[in-house]
Symmetry: C2
Subunit: 420 residues, 2 copies
């Protein structure tokens, strides 16, 4: 039996989940892995007399964990960026291992942190062991694309909008009531949380630096029931995806609403679930889905990292970040098929004007929906699905389309999922 003594920073939902899981499944974990995990100290700004610390010491200063010489590993679950980063840096430089669920710290400061004794499975996609899969189960593979649903709030909202025909604002309010969205939902609905996770996946799968600032980010605020319904008519579901793809010029890294064909498994991942699809040279297309958040689900990943640290204490960890460098492409350099919803006056010749502009930019049309406009006060949506087109060229075409006198509002443009 290998024993590891840990200190836990934080006493929120995830920390409580970790304490509960370690207590409930102690003998199971020991039998399965040969590792005994002992919580020797818990630190949190405010005491929680209602939480059973299972005999661990308690401090109100998380920095006390650094000076407790019994502690082999610090579990950072306080969230936020400044103090959490300070704690992680302090722990690593004191020779303690670190396990964290803090996606922001890793995405923003990962390059400054020594990776040798740092694990963060819980920072990406909650219970889904996607980092384990990339680093161990799929270790032999060259990854060509890693993409998926990595924000449960957005997926819950888009799924509910489609299933119930209820608009964005009402669903957001319900998501907040249910605890799926924060009072300030910016991090989730504007795609920042997903971009943090994508930054981490990019570094692990493609050996780039942690380059959060280079990830293109678009949230779901602009998605309407109309778009969801047109997409369905065309055979697609709108999902908020993080997408990484290796192409000959570099790595694409983008987070945005995406049309996913009904035939793809990820189109059927609904509700608060997450799912990450990995395309690689040997294993082909694999998909990993599960709960992306929640105390118990996140605790599952945290404890896996604690056990992994104990088992691989002597492991040589090569650091791909140090060994590789890759260009991350600006979104203008990608190519994609596009869904365009063009709000127009219902007048003769408008459709010809629109298609003429697309044609002059060599943009090929895959499918069109144009409904009768008489019921809508003389306005009509022209909905077009294009074939693959360079984004820069599409931007030029969109500028020309929006300059037409007959186009009455900005064009809604949604990228279609790459056919990997």
């Amino acid at each position: 039996m290998k024993a590891i003594s840990i200190g836990i920073a934080g006493l929120g939902t995830v920390a409580q989940g970790v304490l509960t899981l370690l207590a409930a499944n102690r003998s199971l974990i020991e039998q399965r892995s040969g590792v005994s995990v002992d919580v020797v100290r818990v630190a949190s700004r405010s005491a929680r007399p209602d939480v059973d610390l299972q005999g661990a010491d308690f401090s109100t200063d998380v920095m006390d964990l650094l000076s407790d010489s019994r502690i082999d590993l610090i579990v950072e679950l306080i969230g936020g960026e400044t103090l959490a980063k300070q704690l992680i840096v302090g722990a690593l430089s004191n020779g303690k291992a670190v396990v964290t669920a803090n996606k922001a710290v890793i995405a923003l400061y990962g390059n400054e942190l020594s990776r040798q004794a740092l694990r963060f499975e819980a920072a990406v996609a909650g219970a889904i062991p996607i980092i384990h899969a990339l680093q161990q189960g799929l270790v032999a593979n060259r990854f060509t694309a890693v993409s998926g649903i990595i924000n449960g709030t957005c997926n819950y909202m888009l799924s509910a909008m489609e299933e119930e025909g209820v608009g964005f604002d009402e669903i957001l309010e319900r998501a907040q009531t249910l605890g799926y969205a924060e009072a300030d939902p910016t991090f989730d609905v504007d795609g920042i949380d997903a971009a943090h996770k994508l930054t981490i996946l990019m570094a692990l799968a493609f050996g780039t630096q942690f380059e959060f600032a280079k990830v293109y980010v678009e949230g779901i605020r602009a998605i309407t029931l109309t778009d969801i319904s047109y997409a369905a008519e065309l055979g697609y579901r709108i999902k908020h995806l993080g997408i990484l793809r290796s192409n000959p010029d570099g790595i694409e890294a983008r987070v945005h609403p995406t049309l996913v064909p009904h035939g793809e498994l990820v189109a059927h991942v609904n509700g608060v679930l997450n799912a990450v699809q990995v395309v690689s040279d040997a294993a082909g297309k694999t998909l990993f889905s599960g709960p992306g958040a929640g105390g118990a689900a996140t605790a599952s990943a945290v404890v896996a990292d604690i056990v992994g640290t104990a088992l691989n204490a002597d492991q040589i960890v090569a650091d791909p970040v140090a060994n590789m460098s890759k260009v991350i492409l600006p979104v203008e350099q990608i190519s994609s098929a596009y869904y365009l919803r063009i709000p127009t006056r219902d007048e003769p010749g408008v459709f010809a004007e629109v298609t003429q502009i697309l044609s002059s930019h060599n943009i090929n049309i895959e499918a069109v929906i144009q409904k009768d406009g008489h019921d809508h006060g003389g306005f009509v949506d022209i909905v077009i699905l294009t074939q693959e087109t360079p984004e820069a060229r599409m931007n030029e075409a969109l500028a020309q389309l929006e300059a037409l006198a007959t186009v009455t509002a900005p064009v809604m443009r949604i990228r279609v999922a790459p056919q990997d």
Copy 2:
């Protein structure tokens, strides 16, 4: 850098996939894991001058691998049972580690083999790192159910039958032409291959012995287009599933065609893909899908095990098989909801007779389909979806139903997926 010297037994599709993958991704694997894999000897009954052995020595006797003192690890890819088992036993007793893709040997003889230096990720679900997930990523979890599509041949055939409306025999012929099914398809279509894999999953997830003989096995030969179409009408897809569930009396272990609701992700795993769903106390419901067979996909899992062996050379591996014991339940002791297709004469009173028998066994009806029989020569199918019922009680009711003069052929009974 840790170096590991391996010998490969076999030169078929998977062995060639392993050689190709190790050559193509050598530097990637080294950078990512810090492990250098050297193939020092390949052994196969018949030489294959067309295969590049990359400088490895060659033997026609696989037993030569045992006496090659350079070899740390033997990769068993000869298939079959007798010689493969002999090689694995010989390697382990010679202090060599073993990696194998041989599900039959593990399922049938796993209890006799020392697990300390034996890995077999490739034996279950091909490229999907499901064993890694159960043992590492989800190490902290108590599993309550592990189920899924673990035979690609059956899934290809059932998917194609539904999508194209083509019957079993024609699809089987095509699967054979495409190489998805063997000339003798028994292992696949009768469920034996899936039962081998389920036996392995059961030992790993529930800590049982390897008890192949206790797995209930039913194949897909009896599934008709009629059943697929009725199931669709009821909101289900018919999938060939392996199902493990822990219930208060023991472990359910069964392989059979199953009605899966359209709302479940596994219902959308089509074609030759595999998918394993894991339900556990902390991580909740997770699903892992990907290619279940093929040279490159299987090689991905084999190389992951080679690298894992090199990295965890000093790892303590507790052997749950030795530490736990669990009762495996006969299928008569499970409960399930059931789809019943009852072929009857289209006569007044038949429906009442049928429902009377179900009712007298306390079997509740969830849904019914009864179409007009006039177009079918006076015969009509009564299709019934029941609520959860003990299997033994259902068996008694089926015997009484089939004894009715108005029931013209055996009742088709398909279990509905448990609601986990």
